[in-house]
């Protein structure tokens, strides 16, 4: 038995973030300037990131919680996501008329849930982290409470999210009944020792896990909630949801499927391959016909989940590191694209139709140029980071022997160029229709600078992030 201090020392970042979120909730009562709460939040997250980096790796709480390179890399993605989301929210919340302090606190609680998911090595802990993340995100999706579309988004997300977590629980219950434990490593060793890998009940619980995590990462055919929720939710939260919970879903999926279900790897790979193909097909093909840019990016985010699944299928340190890598790059490019969308939003003007982007390059060349970079990156055109991410994903899948799957992915990736580059075409080759004014602000500018720098630097010097992802798996 370890001393309890060593256990507590491993969760100091989580404790700090919890206190921070509670502090922000208190500040809401006494502060008139809500943006101040946002700035405190950003500073707090930076401190949390520092605490995460100095935490000693190792297991804690009777092997329920782990601090390792894998969890730290994902936590880095979550911190980046939350900082960028706060930066793009500050002005946007005022425009929407919901400038309330609990928004920041809820975002931090959702991030805390993701951190617990990435670090949990016990099904109970992963479940609790997932619920903490999900419950906070349901509220955030419905944050524009006077707007019916936001209510509807929250309702759909909530109903399907609760439905999927019931499946996760049933999977946990069946696994627990079969193996007598909820610890991921113990499950795997029990399965190999007692030879229950072929037991149909164990296969059923594996399918339950795939359904539950499929909902969280919005993989087809469990993606129905995503387009409506992404369209109706506040734009800043759409950006947050399309990166954070997705990455957290992948983090937990990687742990559960490799640590606990490792002995039946071939079985779950056989189920995930068709899901990955369907996800890429649904995301890329339906996105073509969208006229609302948030809805289009929702389908695009479904498609990107399909690409990232390739890393999970390929497996091994190469497959996982390419997946982690891709999710980090995706955080930069997707939040960047949403930051440009937010820039078009002002009082009395939504700026969500693709038509609104007509001729943007003539009036606002900088905004159009930034959107161009993000769209190129989402398509996967060099020298942007999106290309690097896709390249490593596809390479790892080819090395693992899934050449056919990669060919399918490349074809869908080519189709995706149509709808991403359509935005570019509208911006550069059409005459401006209506007067579009931008609502810029310093925080939004900082967020755009960070994202565009991330996309270009990682695109030109990919080795930085590749080494980081590889090293975090070995360490």
């Amino acid at each position: 038995m370890q001393s309890s201090y060593a256990d507590v020392a491993r969760i100091i970042p989580e404790i700090f973030l919890t206190s921070l979120a509670l502090l922000l909730l208190m500040m809401e009562l006494v502060t008139k300037k809500k943006e101040f709460i946002g700035f405190i939040g950003i500073i707090g997250v930076v401190i949390t990131a520092y605490l995460t980096l100095i935490t000693n790796p190792g297991r804690a709480f009777s092997d329920m919680f782990i601090v390792d390179g894998y969890s730290n890399f994902f936590k880095l993605i979550f911190y980046l996501n939350v900082i960028l989301t706060i930066l793009i929210s500050i002005r946007y919340l005022k425009i929407e008329g919901v400038n309330l302090g609990e928004y920041y606190s809820l975002i931090l609680f959702a991030t805390l849930g993701m951190m617990i998911m990435a670090s949990g090595t016990d099904l109970i802990v992963i479940y609790l982290g997932l619920e903490l993340m999900a419950l906070s995100t349901y509220v955030l999706a419905g944050f524009l409470r006077h707007e019916i579309r936001s209510n509807e988004a929250a309702l759909k997300y909530f109903l399907l999210g609760a439905f999927s977590s019931a499946f996760l629980l049933y999977g946990i219950a069946l696994t627990y009944g079969m193996t007598g434990t909820t610890n991921l490593k113990d499950i795997a060793s029990y399965v190999t020792q007692h030879g229950i890998a072929k037991n149909p009940v164990f296969t059923l619980s594996m399918i339950m896990f795939i359904i539950a995590f499929g909902f969280k990462i919005a993989a087809a055919p469990f993606h129905m909630w995503a387009p409506d929720t992404y369209e109706g939710a506040p734009t800043s939260i759409t950006a947050f949801m399309s990166v954070g919970p997705k990455a957290a879903g992948f983090a937990a999926m990687g742990r559960v499927f490799f640590d606990a279900l490792g002995p039946i790897r071939l079985d779950w790979v056989a189920v995930i391959i068709p899901i990955a193909i369907l996800t890429m097909a649904v995301g890329n093909i339906i996105a073509i016909s969208q006229t609302n840019i948030k809805r289009m990016l929702a389908y695009s985010s479904i498609a990107h989940a399909g690409y990232a699944l390739l890393g999970l299928i390929a497996g091994g340190s190469e497959g996982l590191s390419s997946m982690m890598n891709y999710l980090l790059i995706y955080a930069f490019m997707n939040v960047g694209a949403f930051a440009v969308i937010i820039m078009l939003r002002r009082e009395g003007f939504k700026g969500e139709d693709i038509d609104d982007y007509s001729g943007l390059a003539k009036r606002h060349p900088l905004a159009a140029g930034l959107m161009l970079v993000f769209m190129f990156s989402l398509t996967g055109i060099p020298p942007t980071a999106g290309f690097v991410g896709k390249f490593y994903l596809f390479m790892s899948a080819i090395r693992a022997g899934y050449t056919g799957l990669v060919i399918v992915a490349v074809i869908f990736s080519a189709i995706s160029a149509y709808f991403y580059l359509r935005i570019v075409m509208y911006m550069y080759m059409r005459e401006p229709k209506a007067e579009v004014e931008l609502s810029t602000s310093a925080p939004l500018g900082i967020a755009l600078a960070i994202t565009v720098a991330g996309v270009l630097i990682l695109g030109v010097f990919p080795s930085i992030v590749i080494h980081l992802a590889k090293a975090s798996l070995l360490g």
Partner: protein, 100 residues
């Protein structure tokens, strides 16, 4: 003593009623109740396994599930109320601001 299979079948039946209700009912409150049924179906099997294996873990998880379900109910009802204020309906077919 009641064999464990009976509990497991009960759990499967309750869970399936929940899934069926979720997919077929059109009233939000009833859909919501169906989700609770699914969770309680899981709870039955967790407690049964826990007793059968003589291990506390399952019962601890049941406590967490009940607590989370309470939080979920609070948030779900809040979402339904805020929706109801904008559009007085509790029927999912009327909630169609966005296609899909």
């Amino acid at each position: 003593m009641v064999p464990i299979q009976w509990y497991l079948w009960l759990s499967v039946i309750v869970f399936s009623i929940g899934v069926f209700g979720f997919l077929s009912r059109r009233n939000i409150i009833v859909i919501f109740m169906s989700i609770e049924l699914m969770l309680n179906g899981v709870n039955i099997s967790l407690v049964a396994f826990s007793h059968y294996l003589q291990d506390m873990r399952g019962q601890i998880l049941v406590f967490f599930v009940i607590a989370v379900a309470a939080a979920e109910a609070a948030i779900g009802l809040a979402i339904i109320i805020s929706l109801f204020r904008n559009k007085a309906t509790a029927h999912v077919d009327d909630i169609d601001e966005m296609k899909g």
